[in-house]
Amino acid sequence: MPAARMRWAVVGATSVALVATGCSSSGGGGGPSNSSATFSYQSSEPQNPLQPANANEVGGGRILQNLFKGLIDYDPNSGEMRNQVAENIASSDAQTFNVTLKSGWTFHDGTPVTASSFVNAWNWAANTKNNQINSSWFSDIEGYNDVHPSGAGATPTKDTMSGLTVTDDTHFTIKLTSKVAYFPMKLGYIAFSPLPEGFFKDPDGYGQKPVGNGPYQFVSWDHNSQVVTKTYPNYQGVDKPKNGGVVFKMYTTAEAAYADLQSNNLDVMDQVPPSALANYKNDLGDRAIDAPQGAIQNVGFTLYQPEWSGPNTAKVRQGLSMAIDRDTITKTVLQGSRSPASAWTAEGVDGYKAGTCGDFCTFNADKAKQLITEGGGVPGNSLKITYNADGGHKEWVDAVCNSIRQATGVNCVGDPKTDFKTARAAITGHQINGMFRTGWVQDYPLNANFLADVYKTGAASNDFGYSSPQFDQLANQADQAASVQDSATGYQKAEAVLAQDMPAIPLWYYRTNSGYSTKVQNVKFDSFGNPAWTQVEVKG
């Protein structure tokens, strides 16, 4: 989720992958639990009002995820898509989707969740004039341009998207502008949540006092201090809460949260501070967690510049990739909080295929030098890696530069920008030269999310200016596949093209390094870097 993306970029800590492999949690297990007791979770003050389509950072995102539940979500154990409010999402052509809802779902104010609850919420969220940060999530739907015209300052001509049609209370159809086989996979994103009737009368008021349909209902928001929720007794989802609610305690620093965790004033946190990485497994024993996340760190190239766009320059980029000693850097500088990458899709994500990068992601100084020479050398024999200085990236950027310098003799230095927003402005404004830090945190656990949104020609987050007809063609084929699984396989073929062109060098995957207090048990983290909230048991 972009939420996580924000935190990751800013704090340089965290995020997400399919947990399929190793949730090393669930220690201290098996005692009796009190299903009406609440537990506390480390959080940060939401940056926006609590409206589902307006949560773009973890602070608000994780609270909304618990207050709302959409058509589908992802099983925290396997990462697989599972139906929640949806009974069934069917399509014969990967373009029109027929949604059937389960009956019996209600909002926390008692009103029923109907097809209109979804369609009205989506139309409202997509509309430019409602200022929702996640509005572009609806751009696949036919008629999006009517409610959200593309030019800055243009006003919407309609209030509804033609692609959304309500058939009856439990049925509606979604028609997309083009085929996207994996569209249902996107529907687990928080922006696609339903909204109750009352919301539209007072969106601002609801932003301070949200009423959702999720496992937990809103109790109070003591700003900058805590958000209190309690279990909604009428929750119809497959993941019935085993606890009485979550108290989100706001922390400004991970150090403060970690100190509280150690003295049992906080029950679960999302990422231990860098200063505790070396010791947290000793401190917490079997309450320590080390789990993979669906997030990747890369360094990208400015392919829009002539010196990087020549036909042979791909060899230079491949050579630079081979000059980075990922194993050593992740073990020493990053203290095992990352694992070396061998592909552009993060570990464990649906469609992840290890080794797509081939030898190019394996450290080999001789081969690196040879490739760089064959490619005509690095312009001016020197490089800069632009990054944001407020995100804890300095250490590894320096390490990567050292590695490149020692292996190839290319002069390499870090180019820090004051903070995240300044770095982003320089990157999107094309005011940098050579290389920059970039990364991706999954919005949904599928490889398409790591590839289509980043490397397609003109994709919104294609900061490289990368454009490959071959990649685009394979991606489009994958979009038109018959099923999500075929789509994932198709994207694996597209990913292979990235190894030839190397628009960005994959460095490593993120991991969740966390822990929990002695008061709770059965804490497992999913690939989004979130605990399986409803499964946490409070010892009693």
Binding site: E45, T128, H148, Q208, N265, K421
Partner: protein
């Protein structure tokens, strides 16, 4: 005296406008686009960015933004933060917390700092004097964040006397540890300042006269020595009250207190103009009032100033 007060109050008006104007300009000049940054690593949607900019008047030139802002302030509307909350509400939450913390710290400065300085100043060269000098030197040379973490580790994590972070900021007892940490540096200065000032005045002519007149020791110290020695200390304490309120960022971070420092730090990072300007404006007023009080105290302590 009345004229003096009025003149001082009138002086506050240009300072108020000048300060808010400068702050407004500086926030505007901070690099980066706050709206685009809301979208994270994901590319911002230009149509939505334009709509949001318009909503927060960020599409206007900065001087116009200043006029819009000041116009609203005079209607007691401090604007809305990106979280959709009125800034006045945010300040109403944060200021009481920081004021409580600042007063706990201020209390320590006066109750511990002053007597320490008095003791050291009256018994110069004694064992107690050397002790005070040594302790204050140690405190001055350790950065506040180190002191904070040490205090947190010893008293919370190891001894378990208090919780590592403040759970409820309305509970004064929970503010004692962070208050002591926040006070530590200024406390050391107060002690040293008092010691020097007393040491100097002990040798003054009027002191010799007072002693020669055979006045009781109590009266000499409280009426003659303290009254004259406190002028530099009062100056320091007055400006320090303002510094305590704005400078609590580090302490509030370590002990996770949702005060002004915390909010201000976050607002500067997200370039949230209305919140930054609102808080700093109030801080400027606090400074102005504190220095006014200091100047009035001067007049009480030293009649020569009153009539000058």
């Amino acid at each position: 005296m009345g004229h003096y007060v009025i003149r001082r109050v009138l002086q506050m008006i240009p300072v108020f406008f000048g300060a808010t104007f400068l702050i407004f300009m500086m926030v505007y000049m901070l690099p980066g686009d706050p709206i685009a940054a809301m979208f994270g690593d994901k590319a911002a949607d230009p149509a939505q960015v334009a709509a949001l900019r318009h909503k927060y008047h960020l599409d206007e030139p900065w001087w116009k933004q200043y006029f819009i802002y000041m116009g609203n302030v005079f209607q007691l509307d401090f604007g809305t933060s990106f979280t959709g909350r009125p800034v006045s509400e945010i300040m109403a939450d944060a200021f009481p917390v920081t004021i409580r913390l600042a007063f706990v710290a201020f209390f320590f400065e006066i109750v511990i700092g002053l007597p320490l300085g008095l003791l050291a100043g009256l018994k110069r060269g004694s064992f107690a004097d050397t002790g005070v000098l040594l302790i204050t030197l140690v405190v001055i040379s350790i950065p506040v964040f180190v002191l904070g973490y040490i205090a947190q580790t010893i008293f919370a994590t190891n001894l378990g006397w208090v919780t590592p972070t403040v759970q409820d900021s309305t509970d004064i007892t929970q503010l004692i540890l962070p208050g002591a940490v926040l006070a530590s540096l200024s406390l050391a200065y107060v002690a040293r300042l008092t010691r020097t000032s007393i040491g100097e005045n002990l040798r003054a002519d009027y002191m010799r006269t007072a002693i020669a007149k055979g006045l009781p020791r109590r009266t000499i110290i409280s009426r003659h020595l303290l009254r004259n020695s406190l002028i530099p200390v009062v100056t320091f304490l007055g400006t320090d009250l303002g510094a305590l309120m704005g400078g609590a960022i580090v302490t509030e971070g370590i002990f996770n207190i949702a005060g002004v420092g915390n909010i201000l730090y976050k607002a500067i990072r997200t370039k949230e103009g209305p919140t930054v300007v609102g808080i700093v404006t109030v801080l400027v007023i606090v400074y102005l009032v504190a220095s006014l009080v200091v100047d009035l105290l001067y007049a009480i302590l030293d009649p020569r100033i009153r009539y000058a």
